[in-house]
Subunit: 447 residues, 2 copies
């Protein structure tokens, strides 16, 4: 399906440029990008120079940031223009945002005045907003046109647009009035006026809407693209589904990082320097130590009990680990369900009931198995065995209920459930399990 790297190297060694050129300009863009990234600088530049203008720009937008930078430093001014001329505006803005100053200057030099203005305007949209995600390459129509006239306009504008499947109908002051799908233009009578076939029920977002919200709208309505308007409902751009796919992955990465108590970041792990990686982790490690202070205090309060029955110490790690795991199972399930909008705050009593049921089952099974292990296999006294298993069961039950409700409360308080739940669940469960442990112990052992 795609050209072999070895074959390509043979062709390069044989200086069979015609064959190479013929091959690579007919390959799929992401495959060419992959090939170019695998070759060393000399070869990749050579290959790159054989690509036609449009393919070159598209391949460029597919290679990694690090390689883009290397490339832009290698090429001459004319080639730089060839590259950036055909880039979509949103890709160019991303490039300007992330390249070093000397390269930015070079890139902006290849743009005309009008484009430079647009780039500056784009740079002002907040990161993660619809405005920073949109492209301005779209097809606008007037409602007075016929289907045939619209198709003519699309043909005229068409080739360079990121998507031509949807056209946007606007007034003279650029206010969004309706949308029309290419398929409807093709399927309808060619003399029909746009006005009569467009959909007036337009789903749109504002430039300042958050990208997570935009993604949820895409999912709800199964969209391929969405118009972006300003505060006067004037059409300023569109967002296409390929960018939304990336947003969905990024948001999922953020959620996963937050659940593991790491400050989320969009940078590739291997590209990030160790000081930034350390900074992203240290904050939450420190916060999570708050719980450690509590457990230390509780243990020192029960110093006498610990001195007289050292065996009590042996089960502390097991009790705390199991409580922690049981709690994070519940909180992870609930946090994910909140993200997917399957659970809301009003379901809190259903969640409590469910977790009560689940934790009873899980707690009883774990308690029985542990009793068997501690009493029969390890040979501890019946009293110690009872203390440990009773604590285990209560800890699991509390951990699951607290793990289930805290994310919902965090959400209700407009805090991020993934950030807030984890440290609080740990602190509450750790503290509770130790207090219960020693209460039961002092009661049964009469110490």
């Amino acid at each position: 399906m795609h050209m072999n790297k070895k074959l390509l190297q043979t062709l390069i060694e044989n200086k069979d440029f015609k064959q190479i050129k013929n091959n690579i300009n007919n390959m799929n863009i992401p495959d060419v990008a992959e090939l170019i990234e695998e070759l060393d600088n000399t070869y990749s530049l050579l290959i790159f120079r054989l690509l036609n203008k449009i393919t070159a720009a598209r391949v460029f937008s597919y290679i990694s940031r690090a390689n883009q930078k290397k490339f832009l430093l290698l090429v001459n001014e004319k080639e730089l223009k060839k590259l950036t001329d055909e880039l979509f505006l949103d890709d160019k803005v991303d490039l300007v945002e992330e390249m070093p100053a000397n390269l930015v200057k070079k890139i902006l030099k290849t743009s005309d005045e009008k484009e430079r203005k647009l780039i500056n305007q784009f740079l002002k949209y907040p990161k993660d907003s619809a405005g920073s995600l949109m492209t301005i390459e779209f097809i606008d129509l007037k409602k007075e046109l016929t289907a045939a006239m619209s198709l003519e306009r699309i043909k005229k504008l068409g080739y360079n647009k990121e998507t031509i499947y949807t056209s946007y109908v606007i007034t003279n002051t650029r206010v969004l009035e309706g949308i029309i799908e290419l398929k409807d233009l093709v399927l309808e009578d060619s003399n029909e006026k746009i006005e009569n076939i467009m959909s007036k029920n337009v789903i749109y977002v504002n430039t300042h809407d958050d990208q997570e919200y935009v993604a949820s709208i895409f999912k709800k309505y199964d969209l391929l693209s969405i118009p972006v308007v300003d505060n006067e409902k004037r059409l300023v751009g569109i967002i296409t589904i390929d960018d939304i796919m990336d947003v969905v992955e990024l948001e999922n990465t953020e959620d996963i990082h937050r659940m593991a108590a790491i400050e989320p970041s969009h940078t590739n792990y291997l590209d990030e320097n160790i000081f930034i990686l350390a900074k992203r982790r240290i904050i939450w490690l420190l916060v999570l130590m708050i719980s450690a202070t509590f457990t230390g205090l509780i243990l020192s309060r029960y110093e006498e009990a610990l001195e007289s029955v050292v065996a009590l110490t042996f089960f502390i790690p097991m009790l705390m680990d199991t409580g922690g795991n049981a709690g994070s199972q519940a909180s992870t399930l609930i946090i994910r369900s909140i993200t997917l909008e399957e659970i809301q705050f009003k379901d809190i009593f259903k969640v409590i009931l469910k977790e009560l049921g689940v934790s009873s089952i899980v707690g009883i099974i774990l308690a029985i198995l542990n009793f068997l292990r501690i009493y029969f296999i390890q040979g501890y006294s019946i009293k110690i065995s009872l203390i440990v298993t009773m604590t285990l069961m209560l800890t699991v039950m509390l951990a699951k209920i607290v793990g289930g409700i805290l994310p919902l409360i965090a959400k209700k308080a407009k805090l991020d459930p993934a950030i807030m739940a984890s440290p609080l669940v740990t602190t509450i469960v750790d503290t509770f399990s130790l207090i219960v442990y020693f209460r039961i112990a002092t009661l049964i052992l009469k110490i």
Copy 2:
């Protein structure tokens, strides 16, 4: 943008059915579905009966499984046919798979012989395979046609297809030869033969490919749809991006569940019964207790040390919690990077170096802050303070390195990194931190 529920109820009370009908048939399908789900059974059936045939079927495919079931039990046979007739085949197959037997019988009764055969064939594809995800509603063309003739055929076939933006060019034996985008058909000279404008570089998948692989192909090539072929490369269906968006969310949910040591499931939390929820959690809680056995054993080996210096006990939870958190930060970052294909096994030395750097920074900061707290604020002896902080630092370093490399090793061994890493990291870090703690303690305290 959409009709208010209260307004609708007023209209229902006033029996203004004409107004209701007019309104709901012009609303966006997902909004109608949302409205119907919020109303009680009598009202929702009433509203549903006012929808025209195609809208009714589309609305139906948007409501939740639980409500679909309720609906199918409420409607009469004729209405059931109205509903299921217009469903896409893939949606109908999903319905047959998940509804109770009595309803399945009813649904199959509304299908003709040919469709029943197709449904049975679909049911044989493995769950999570491309075959079970595809739809058979697509446009096939022959390469001898012209652009104009193709557009005619699309017009004729078009209305009921899930996507008409891409047509598939096949031979007389249905072998896939090429694809052509609707936009190219529109933009090209209408007398041009398909043969000359189609792309022969077709990206396709096999019916038995896993849906996760299909999703990765969509992302790599920014596709809106992909053809699915059998082992003879005959075209049997297509997969569209809306279904892939759902796959991406499901796969992310699975990963998140696995990282929290829960057996993944696709069922909504609130819809799942407590025994299944318990089963999904108990297995890993039991596995994770293996580490608890080790820690118990180590602690009992150092019974004497614990007896003579009880204060050593107070810091055990803090050391183990911090080690656990530090390890899961590293393993989560690496697991996610593996999923996103940013890191491979060959990067293992880079990861070790990075984690060594990060953990040194994090370890030193945590150790210093803890020394200040333990020695100056809590007033423990210099020896105890040193033992605890040295152990803390070594634990954090080991946790991060083990957390960083274990997922890569799991991946290399073709095991799921998310499943394997977490219990192993905990076991190794817990065991190691206690051994180090008591080695240092016995050395410094000479006990």
